[in-house]
Structures are given as structure tokens and as C-alpha cells.
């Protein structure tokens, strides 16, 4: 007799008898399978959230969108608007773009947008007027290239007025220059530069020779020797530390740092993560993660100044004038600075504006502090010259990304 039949409660069916041990193995296996599927589902959901964050922060859209359109559409403007399209591509302190334009019959008037001021970082509006000078230089270059003979009158309503310049435009034969061709290519390069590669003397002399009648008394002084680079590098680091320690300067600096993609597309100004000189991976992570605090941003800036900017600078240039408090000379200095930057762009040399020294020097005067950095600058400059704007140069290791710009329509006043 079949044992299976004698045993009470046992299954007679052989298949079901064999199935009993297998059921317990299937249960554990099923449990593991479901756990794996659960983990996979969570990972997929998490990756979806990460992917959406990447889209929302423009990780894959570097330099794209309405905020960057002026870089590609500036030549599509008609008439005198094309000259404004060139002007707005100029650099400005913290990319504040402190300019407004009024177009008349055969003329353009440039005004200072006083609301676009970087506050404690630029207490006497020195950098604001240097930036306006840079925009004016772009406008003049574009005017010549588009068949106009520009006649510039600086500060037609006096130094205290926001009316910066009147540019009368008579028709003439087009004169496109090498500097004009670099207008859409000029970007501040905050990356590391090639270490040990010095700019040739011919290049330094060429940039120093870019002043002309329009730039007045503005001059470029180079600090390319090892000792000079070390001295200025140390001063820049100390000035950065002092800026961070000043609550108002730190806050006014942070206010112009744009970390949100929607904000960039809406405001179309300021310093962005993409233009901060970070590697692609670090920039992507910075965009994916929550926005950095003011303290974290300050610390990152100091680290970059110490470990990247000053460490890899091939040299420093200081644009100087006779009187750095004079708006007219600031405008002239700004025009020279822009000519230098455009020349550098066209000759494979990177340039990065580093104005911590003059920012602290002005702040010392504003607050009645000891003239620590002011005196240092005075010692650096030849007698009779005052430092207006400082920058570093070198050979690039990365191509810089574009920075946002407000549209031509946004800066036209009627």
C-alpha cells in the first residue's frame, strides 16, 4: 500500500506532495523579488526627481534661454538698436548692467541706471562708471563697423548727472575692427589659467598701447614679474577676506549671485554658477543641490581666489587714471579696459576682473577705516596715478560660459 495513502492528512496526489517543499522556497524567493522591485521602484522615483531637478535648474541648458539670447541676436537688431545690442554685451560690476539708452534721430544717449548699483561693494560708484565706459566703447566700435562716425560727448549734463554720454552718429563708411569682431566672444574667465605660461612681452605691450584719444589719460600698468604677482596675489586674498568679514559688502556681493535657473531667466543679470569658473561636474552638482548660503558662497569665493585665481595668474593689469574719483576719467578708464579685454579675447588670452583691492580701498574711505589697501595701492602705482580697475590674465584652460544679459528692449528708455 502506498505510504502516502496510510498517512492521515497527507496528500494522495504525488504532484501536490512534491509541491509542499517548493512552496516555502517560492515564498522566500518571492519576498526577495518584491524587495528588489521595491528598491528599484524607489531608485527610479528618486532618479525621476533628480532628472526633474536637472531640468528645472538648466543643468543641460548652459548658456541657453532668453537670458542668453542677446549674445546671438545682437546683430539681428535693426538700425541704431544694433549698436545698443553691442553695448549691452560689455562687462559690468557683478554683471549689474547699469545702463539705459535713449535713441533719438541720429544719436544715442547713454544713461546710468542708478538702481543697478552694487551698494557697499562699490560705495562711490567707481565700478559702475567703469562698466558704463565699457558699454560705451562697445557702442562706439559697433557704430564704426555699421557705417557711422560717432562723436562722443561725455557727461554732457555734468558729472553729477546720470546722463553719461551723448553719441552723435553721422553716416560714414563702415570700419569693422578686430576689436569689434570680439564683442560676442568676450567673456570673463574665472577658471584656472595655464600655470607657468607667461604672456609674451609683445602681447603686454600691445594691450598697453590700446589707449587712444578716446581713453584720455587712462593707462595700463602691468605687474607680471614673479615678485609682483606674488605681492598682488597676497593682497587680493587679504582683500577678499576683508570683504567677507564686512557684513554689508558680503551681503551686497551675495545679492548679485544667481543660483536659480528661473531667477536667471527672469532677472537676466548677476553672477551665475555657470560663469563662476567651476568644473562642469561641480557646477552641475551645485545646481542640483539646494542654493548655497551667503557664508558658503563667501568661503567658496575665497578658496577660488586663493587656490585658482591668484595661483594661476600669469600677470595682473591695473588700469589707472589721474583721479579715480572723477566720473569722466572712470568712463575713459572703462573704455580702455574694454579694449584690453576685447584684444585679449582675440589673441587667446583670458582675462578676469578682480577688483577686491579697490573695493576695500573705497570702503575704507567710506567708513573712515585705516587705509590699509588704499595705501598698498598707492605704493604699487607710479607717482601721480590712481588705480581704477584690476584684472588678471593668463592662458585659458577652459572656455568660459556666457553670462546672462537683459534684452535691448529692456534697456531702452523713451
Amino acid at each position: 500500500m502506498d505510504l502516502l495513502e496510510k498517512s492521515p492528512g497527507r496528500h494522495v496526489d504525488d504532484q501536490r506532495e512534491v509541491a509542499e517543499p517548493r512552496d516555502s522556497r517560492v515564498t522566500r524567493r518571492t519576498l526577495l523579488r518584491r524587495a528588489g522591485l521595491g528598491i528599484g521602484t524607489v531608485l527610479v522615483a528618486g532618479s525621476g526627481a533628480l532628472g526633474y531637478r536637472a531640468y528645472d535648474q538648466g543643468v543641460l541648458q548652459v548658456g541657453d534661454g532668453p537670458a542668453y539670447a542677446p549674445w546671438s541676436s545682437w546683430r539681428e537688431q535693426n538700425g541704431l538698436l544694433r549698436l545698443v545690442g553691442a553695448a549691452i554685451l560689455a562687462p559690468s560690476p557683478h554683471n549689474a548692467q547699469p545702463w539705459l539708452f535713449e535713441i533719438g534721430s541720429g544719436r544715442i544717449d547713454l544713461y546710468a541706471d542708478r538702481a543697478r548699483w552694487t551698494g557697499a561693494t562699490d560705495p562711490f560708484r567707481r565700478e559702475q562708471y567703469v562698466g558704463l565706459g565699457a558699454a560705451l566703447e562697445n557702442l562706439v566700435l559697433a557704430a564704426k563697423a555699421n557705417g557711422y562716425a560717432p562723436q562722443v560727448t561725455l557727461l554732457p549734463d555734468g558729472s553729477g548727472s546720470s546722463h553719461v554720454a551723448r553719441i552723435e552718429l553721422a553716416r560714414s563708411s563702415p570700419q569693422a575692427s578686430a576689436l569689434y569682431a570680439q564683442i560676442p566672444n568676450r567673456h570673463t574667465n574665472r577658471y584656472a589659467y595655464v600655470q607657468g605660461k607667461r604672456a609674451p612681452t609683445a602681447a603686454l605691450d600691445a594691450m598697453a598701447g590700446l589707449n587712444n584719444s578716446a581713453t584720455g589719460d587712462a593707462r595700463l600698468f602691468w605687474f607680471a614679474g614673479a615678485a609682483q604677482r606674488s605681492l598682488i596675489g597676497d593682497l587680493l586674498i587679504e582683500a577678499t577676506e576683508a570683504l567677507m568679514a564686512d557684513p554689508d559688502q558680503s551681503a551686497s556681493d551675495y545679492a548679485w549671485f544667481r543660483q536659480n535657473w528661473d531667477e536667471i531667466q527672469r532677472q537676466r543679470d548677476g553672477i551665475t554658477i555657470d560663469a563662476a569658473g567651476l568644473s562642469d561636474l561641480v557646477a552641475a552638482l551645485a545646481k542640483l543641490l539646494p542654493a548655497q548660503s551667503q557664508t558658503a558662497t563667501d568661503n567658496a569665493w575665497l578658496a577660488a581666489t586663493r587656490n585658482t585665481h591668484t595661483k594661476t595668474a600669469a600677470g595682473y593689469g591695473i588700469v589707472a587714471v589721474r583721479d579715480a574719483d572723477h566720473n569722466l576719467q572712470r568712463l575713459q578708464g572703462g573704455r580702455l579696459l574694454e579694449r584690453i579685454h576685447l584684444w585679449a579675447s582675440g589673441n587667446g588670452i583670458a582675462l578676469h576682473h578682480m577688483n577686491q583691492l579697490t573695493e576695500r580701498a573705497d570702503r575704507e574711505i567710506q567708513l573712515g577705516l585705516a587705509h590699509r589697501f588704499g595705501d598698498q595701492l598707492t605704493e604699487l602705482m607710479p607717482s601721480g596715478w590712481q588705480a581704477l580697475s584690476t584684472f588678471r590674465i593668463g592662458y585659458p584652460t577652459h572656455t568660459p560660459h556666457k553670462s546672462p544679459r537683459r534684452s535691448v528692449a529692456a534697456v531702452i528708455v523713451t
Binding site: L37, V44, G48, L50, A54, V59, L60, V62, S279
Partner: protein, 175 residues
């Protein structure tokens, strides 16, 4: 308790329509937004709502088993749609690779029962790797790419196992 006048004998309970409405409503909203990127989830939701209109009450257990058996394929398809989405936001060649790569993964899934697992895995890699390599620094795309290959491989193996079991069953029964 009196029967609700909404309940008709022989027809699905009104509550059965809640998930279907729940698919249509957000799907329709997607098409009212300004951004074209919303059209993709909108189409998925509306399409799912149409499919759900079929009275599945009698086939719930079958449906559940089908979803359970194909869950890795569903996850892979979702990841492929993420790829398409990110490709749509990327610039230049990266965008093309992302969109085509995501669509290619969906094609591999659609034909997974006819593909040898090794071939399917190779196709998954060809579809996924270029986009991930080109924008390796984006962090999100490489991570999704890795998950795509992992879940896709699991889906291919699972499909092959189910196909093999059905074949074995036929042979055993014929014995």
C-alpha cells in the same frame, strides 16, 4: 440599506471610475499649460485613462499578475521616458542622443520577447551610453543611464525566463 440609485446591477460600481477620472483630469491639465514638455505626461495620462475605461473589474487579478510580472519592464519604460525628457531639455547632439536613446530603449522593451537577452543588453547599452557619456558631468543622466541598463537587463532576463517556462511547460505536458 437602500441601494444607491447610481449602482446599476451588472455594471461596474461608480467607484471604479474614480481612478479613470483621476488619470484624465491631470492629463487634461497638462495640455493647458504653456510648456510643451507637459504634453508628454499629458498624453500618457490621457492614454492610460482611455485604456482604463475598459471594465477591468473582472480581470483585476489577471491585471495585477501582469503588472507584477512586468514591473521591471514598466520601470525601464519610465526611465526611458526620463531619458527622452532630459534629451528634450538638452542642447545639440546631447539632446538628439537623449531622445533617440530613450525611444530606442522603449523599442527594445516592446520587442523584448523576440530578443536574446545578450542582444537586448547590447542594444540597451548602445541606446543609453552615448547620452550618458556626452553629459557625464550632469550626474543625473549617467545615474539614470545606469539604472536603465540595470532594470532593462532584469526585464530582458525576466522576459526570457517566462518565455522559457512556457516552452518547458508545453514540452512537459506533451510527455
Amino acid at each position: 440599506m437602500p441601494r444607491s440609485p447610481c449602482v446599476v446591477p451588472g455594471h461596474p460600481h461608480p467607484r471604479a471610475f474614480q481612478p479613470k477620472v483621476g488619470l484624465f483630469a491631470p492629463g487634461a491639465i497638462c495640455f493647458t499649460t504653456a510648456g510643451p514638455l507637459w504634453y508628454l505626461p499629458g498624453a500618457i495620462l490621457v492614454g492610460s485613462g482611455v485604456a482604463a475605461l475598459t471594465d477591468l473589474r473582472s480581470e483585476t487579478s489577471t491585471l495585477r499578475a501582469t503588472i507584477d510580472r512586468n514591473w521591471t519592464s514598466i520601470l525601464t519604460a519610465v526611465l526611458a521616458l526620463f531619458y527622452v525628457f532630459l534629451g528634450a531639455t538638452a542642447l545639440g547632439l546631447a539632446g538628439v542622443l537623449g531622445i533617440l536613446g530613450g525611444l530606442a530603449v522603449l523599442a527594445v522593451l516592446a520587442f523584448r520577447t523576440r530578443l536574446a537577452p545578450a542582444l537586448g543588453l547590447a542594444l540597451l547599452a548602445v541606446a543609453t551610453v552615448p547620452f550618458a557619456l556626452l553629459v557625464w558631468w550632469s550626474f543625473a543622466v549617467p545615474l539614470i543611464g545606469i539604472l536603465l541598463i540595470a532594470t532593462g537587463w532584469t526585464a530582458l532576463r525576466s522576459s526570457a525566463q517566462h518565455t522559457g517556462k512556457r516552452s518547458t511547460g508545453v514540452v512537459a505536458r506533451s510527455d
